[in-house]
């Protein structure tokens, strides 16, 4: 199934190549200009004395990838389910709903990773990140986990919610929490203690803190990474059940 979905994704790119190319060129530059260029004048360096450009670089790439993962999931699990009924016909193919969810998620994560890799290579050349190829590989590993988590969240929302307004509002809220409340562009320590405690319990925050530890202190918290991977597997299975319930198949 994943091959069929990959080919379809390539066709969709091919059919709207110019508009997508322009968007994906403007996209990283806009995010970088609006977030990094302003924040670097406020924060200058992180609480651990790492230059802001370097500290925020993984977060900026993560935000761009997280935004890229949304359109394919919205398209397949919400728009083409609620309005087009395409998903129901695709679900007639001889695959379990769980493998359907994993395949759709896999393709969306792959697309987000490709854009993230492109963006990171672009940023490494225009700002002084001090990241080696090894660091970048570690970053991509964490990004893959982050995209799987966000992707699963969007799939759950897309299957659960029936109205476009509610779905888009929930999506904005998710991005708001992700960008400002998970430690991607500034540390959670800047929040009041009680709010910091609540925000630090979110899986996104746990993962991003672990990513920063790995990238800037060379500490791999496998005891955190493994449960997060298990969470992704369980969440995907749950989404499979939800999809089955929604499609009544």
């Amino acid at each position: 199934m994943i091959i069929a979905l990959l080919k379809r994704r390539l066709w969709l790119w091919q059919n709207q190549f110019l508009s997508l190319l322009v968007l994906f060129l403007i996209f990283p530059i806009a995010i970088f200009s609006l977030l990094d260029l302003s924040m670097r004048n406020i924060f200058i360096q992180s609480l651990g004395n790492i230059p802001y450009d370097q500290w925020a670089f993984p977060g900026i790439v993560a935000i761009i990838g997280s935004l890229v993962i949304f359109p394919p999931i919205y398209r397949d699990f919400f728009h083409l389910r609620v309005h087009g009924k395409v998903l129901k016909t695709v679900a007639l193919a001889p695959f379990t709903k769980r493998s359907m969810v994993i395949s759709f998620l896999g393709i969306a994560v792959l697309e987000a990773l490709i854009i993230s890799i492109g963006t990171s290579i672009l940023f490494v050349n225009i700002i002084s990140t001090g990241f080696t190829i090894g660091d970048l590989l570690i970053l991509y590993f964490f990004l893959a986990i982050l995209f799987c988590l966000i992707g699963n969240l969007f799939i759950s929302m897309a299957l659960w919610i029936e109205s476009a307004t509610s779905f888009l509002l929930a999506t904005f809220l998710t991005y708001f929490i992700l960008v400002f409340g998970s430690g991607l562009i500034f540390e959670l320590n800047y929040f009041p203690v009680s709010l910091e405690f609540i925000l630090s319990l979110f899986p996104f925050s746990i993962l991003i803190k672990t990513m920063h530890l790995s990238l800037f202190a060379n500490i791999f918290e496998w005891t955190i990474i493994v449960p997060l991977i298990l969470l992704i597997i369980l969440w995907s299975a749950g989404n499979g059940l939800l999809l089955r319930k929604k499609l009544i198949q």
Binding site: M1, I3, A4, K7, R8, W11, L12, N15, Q16, L80, G84, K85, V86, K88, T89, V90, L92, A93, P94, F95, T96, I248, Q249
Partner: protein, 308 residues
């Protein structure tokens, strides 16, 4: 003959309403079965259940002897489904939509292309294959949906309004293709176009309120349920006395009048001469004899008591 599709006490409920009520029937391999009935009779629902598009609330469906619930992945490969609404991916071309479906079923690219070319040629779709689905008419989309349902070479083809939105030429080509596929594939379809159903079927299932009320070939159904011929004689003046006199002709069934028109049914054409004889030379304006069809069958059946 070997059964291709078997339903055992299949039912479907929507909230408290019964959409299908414990249906049990079988469909022979290679046959062309039409399902007709009023709106909301459960026609499309039965197709969706057969295609695996939805699950029944109770009962079992078997395709080639395999339970569609327990052997889901195997039975899905056997079915091609054309839904009533257009459900192509609007941002893919017609060709890409069809190829995508073939890829989903694990068919190799060469086979997909061969089948696509073959069926596109038969349905005159080749000039539109590179057009985005959102930019072509609904009739063209429907033809693409038919090819999409055939690209994995299913044994059972299930179609909801196969010629919906199509122009006359496309309708003819679609029925030509369906007639060619018959025998090799079991074809079950729903249509509101009764003329098309009369022309193309081995068997008709008439649905009403989620139940099958008639089942068989049209000729057999007409023979067993209502009379064969419908007559109309327009008199210059159809008096009550004349009407009552004509009603007494023993071979006349369901006599009726509309102004000066005497309307009745008869099992044979000779009934007409019995009436002429009874009218004994009274001036007539117009005569009309018609062999009854599916429309009359449904009208008589849904009228409640039928004709007799």
């Amino acid at each position: 003959m070997e059964a291709s599709v078997t339903l055992k006490k299949v039912g479907k409920l929507v909230k408290d309403k019964t959409i299908l009520a414990g249906l049990t029937f079988g469909i022979e391999k290679g046959s062309l079965v039409a399902i007709v009935g009023d709106n909301d009779a459960g026609k499309s629902t039965i197709l969706r259940l057969l295609a695996g598009f939805e699950n029944p609330d109770y009962g079992n469906i078997y395709l080639h002897g395999l339970n569609t619930d327990k052997r889901r992945l195997e039975t899905r490969k056997m079915v091609g489904y054309v839904p009533h609404e257009n459900d192509l991916d609007p941002w893919l071309t017609l060709g890409q939509n069809i190829k995508f479906y073939g890829n989903l079923f694990g068919i190799d690219s060469q086979t997909i292309q061969r089948r696509l070319d073959h069926y596109a040629d038969q349905l005159d779709l080749t000039p539109y294959l590179n057009e985005l689905a959102s930019r072509v008419s609904q009739g063209i989309q429907k033809r693409a949906m038919i090819i999409r349902s055939l690209v994995h070479n299913p044994d059972v083809l299930i179609m909801d309004e196969p010629t919906g939105f199509m122009d006359a030429s496309s309708i003819r080509k679609t029925w030509d293709l369906i007639e060619k596929l018959k025998g090799d594939k079991t074809i079950i379809y729903v249509s509101n176009s009764l003329n098309e159903v009369e022309q193309s079927h081995d068997r008709i299932l008439v649905f009403n309120d989620g139940k099958i009320i008639l089942d068989g070939h049209l000729d057999k159904l007409l023979e067993s349920t209502i009379e064969y011929h419908q007559f109309q004689i327009e008199f210059e003046a159809l008096t009550d006395e004349l009407f009552n006199h004509l009603c007494k002709v023993v071979t006349v069934v369901s006599p009726n009048r509309l102004g000066n028109i005497f309307h009745f049914y008869g099992r044979t054409r000779s009934v007409f001469f019995d009436v002429l004889q009874a009218a004994s030379g009274l001036p007539m304006v117009d005569l009309n004899v018609k062999k009854l069809g599916l429309r009359d069958l449904l009208d008589s059946e849904f009228a409640g008591d039928g004709l007799a």
